[in-house]
Symmetry: none
């Protein structure tokens, strides 16, 4: 059984927009033992969509489409599907009622285009879009299935993962697949690979005809997700083997592992702070709010997170954090000394259990000193102790900011876990 993805959109063919929906769908399908063999992007025209569907139905049993369902004139997917499946557009009262309810809730007036959105191919099973206005169509043709998704990534992702994926698995997935994720911070990928040489050999030698194991390194800006996948028919055996490999990885590189599963570093930090009944504040210069954003991206973070001073200007460092003018003059804003005074000032201002601070140069330009862009000083402390460290990254501005903030989270983790 094979799946295929049809991406519809001139904006993707012109390079104006990077398609990420197909990557999202392919990964989830793959992890659930439904292999994608073709991803095809075509134009927003009836002819191109028709030809694309025809070609992919030759190759695959399941076609996922993305895009071309919005209310504007450049979206012609519905008409194309009607022509391909020899169907016609009919008015769907329940979709229309749902639209009306959604607009009423948001105090927005309906317009004529919205009525078009309730016109659906007669041949389709219509599935309400819980997070947007374009419904999803499930169309069967003999044993094959085509399912349409909106192009807006947030809508596509939500409806794909939460609503449709279970149906795909039930209908198409054979055999068993198990997966474990360990999340790593604070070590480069090549050093990690070196530590895991023996485990990798063990994983490879566990491969037999009816069972397959694989360790994947999935780095993403400062953290690495280690994924062990096993697939085959003997579920207990696969799960036992994956557990064994997991323990071997923990034995080899345990001090860098901050979480099992999909928790990101922010969620993990939230859990350890909550467990200790501790509070946290931040003071940010170069990260400009991004560190606070990572922390507050977790629902319920107000239980432990108090707030931040974003001290972009030096006067703010002096006035709000009590950094002394002489320190700034002697060592500059990006220095161990300033960083230490920021930690003390932050703890004092917010009276929290812990404080984390950043001061650095995100780039691309330097700060008119001899210090290079990509340099950051990060400090973490409580009332008794303080750890201050510098890092040097060499990415662009946005990536440096991200790496600074993730490194700060990594230092906070070690500090909080290390003291207990």
């Amino acid at each position: 059984m094979k799946a295929a993805i049809l991406v519809i959109g001139d904006e993707i063919l012109s390079g104006n927009v990077q398609d990420t929906n197909s990557n999202f769908a392919a990964r989830l399908l793959f992890e659930n033992n439904i292999g994608v063999a073709h991803i095809l992007t075509v134009a927003d025209t009836e002819k191109a969509i028709n030809e694309g569907v025809a070609y992919l139905f030759e190759k695959a049993d399941l076609i996922i489409t993305s895009g071309g369902l919005g209310p504007t004139k450049d979206d012609v997917t519905k008409t194309a599907l009607c022509s391909y499946f020899h169907s016609e557009l009919v008015f769907n009262q329940s979709i229309y009622d749902d639209l009306v309810a959604r607009y009423t809730r948001n105090n927005r007036p309906l317009n004529l285009l919205n009525r078009d959105q309730a016109m659906v191919p007669a041949v389709a099973e219509v599935i309400t879009n819980d997070v947007g206005t374009a419904p999803i169509f499930w169309i069967e043709k003999q044993e094959k299935v085509l399912v349409t998704f909106p192009g807006v990534p947030s809508e596509m992702r939500y409806m794909f993962e939460k609503v449709l994926l279970p149906r795909f698995i039930e209908k198409f997935s054979g055999g068993h697949i198990s997966r474990t994720i360990l999340q790593v911070i604070g070590i480069p990928e090549s050093d990690l690979a070196l530590k895991l040489t023996e485990v990798e050999n063990n994983i490879e030698s566990a491969n037999i005809d009816s069972e397959h194991y694989k360790l994947a390194y999935l780095p993403s800006m400062g953290t690495i997700r280690l994924q062990i996948i096993g697939s085959g028919t003997n579920k207990p055996n696969i799960e036992a083997n994956i557990d064994r490999f997991k323990e071997q990885i923990i034995a080899a590189a345990g001090q860098y592992i901050f979480a099992e599963g999909d928790d990101d570093i922010s969620t993990y930090i939230g859990k350890i702070l909550r467990a200790k009944n501790a509070t946290l504040s931040t003071a940010e210069s170069c990260t400009g709010g991004y560190l606070a954003h990572l922390i507050t991206s977790v629902s319920g973070s107000s239980d432990y997170y108090q707030g931040s001073i974003i001290s972009y200007a030096n006067e703010v460092k002096i006035k709000e954090l009590g950094v002394s003018e002489s320190t700034l003059k002697a060592f500059g804003a990006v220095s161990e000394q300033t960083c230490r005074e920021m930690v003390s000032g932050c703890l004092k201002k917010f009276n929290t259990t812990y404080a984390v601070v950043t001061t650095g140069i995100a780039g691309p330009k330097s700060d008119n000193s001899e210090k290079p862009a990509g340099l950051v000083w990060i400090g973490v402390g409580n009332k008794e102790n303080m750890v201050v460290r510098s890092f040097q990254f060499r990415r662009n501005r946005i990536e440096n900011i991200h790496l600074f903030a993730v490194s700060a989270m990594g230092m906070l983790r070690r500090f909080v876990v290390g003291e207990s």
Copy 2:
């Protein structure tokens, strides 16, 4: 004349790696009037590559391939091409000499696989890869051309843009293409479409055999990029028409347009603040640093941005921003009154020309009041005036935070532009 892109790689079909090469190539080709009509991703097998090439040659005159040329998978793509073009692999001394020189320079030993890398399809013109070891093949078939690129993004990008693109333009680009972008904030896509109905009709009716015009809506979380494209042979005529459509759009929806071209809202805000020699501070509750992050994502933002108080806890709102306890008690943190006091407190604390503040409920849970998740109060002010407004979004936490922050930028824009 149409182009197509063939992406080769199991790692893309499994969702492990996001393909970005096709986006890069498509954009550069499009900008040079070589339209890409198909992007197809297939597996690392001879059969899949062969079928992919055959399908795309039916549709296009130029095929760009990406991937499948590394030292391990070498044989598959090259063998597939030999079989498709009825050719065979031959040893290429100059490629081999180049490899030897490259390895010697880097003090790396050659291995057997390297000799395989010097085996090339007899039918191909071989182009040395200036930044890697896999050469590029230019293969012609009647009037059509297939060109292979390595999958490593840095190699692909360099060789595509610097070496091959000029050849593509010389051989394939005819006519002219013009594009204008208008960026919109503060209006839903369907309402915007309604305002532009007449302009859209004008654009459609300008299409003649030798000229084509199109208006595309490219929404991205709170802003919409409106793109007018025209192509054909009569450059002055195309540019005049695009200018005319642009003026019509501005007449119909001018108050929502914040920029022409690719500037994002943060860059745009930076430009208007700099032009006025003005300064900015923020106070954030629900956006938790994300608003400051948007502002400081722009290089040089320290010229106008002073800093922020992230007042996640109510005590911080009281202590740092001077919000009164009685206001918080009577109206709650998420209220017009608190929002107003935050604006005043922020202006006072940072002594800036403008202040923007947010207080809301990012969700998914409410704040233990009867107020719904997704509700936000945004305030913007200077020493004389203040505007405060509420918005209600219904997305997930991260998207709500993004929409809150972008809406705050939109309100800041109107406030700053409106007063001048």
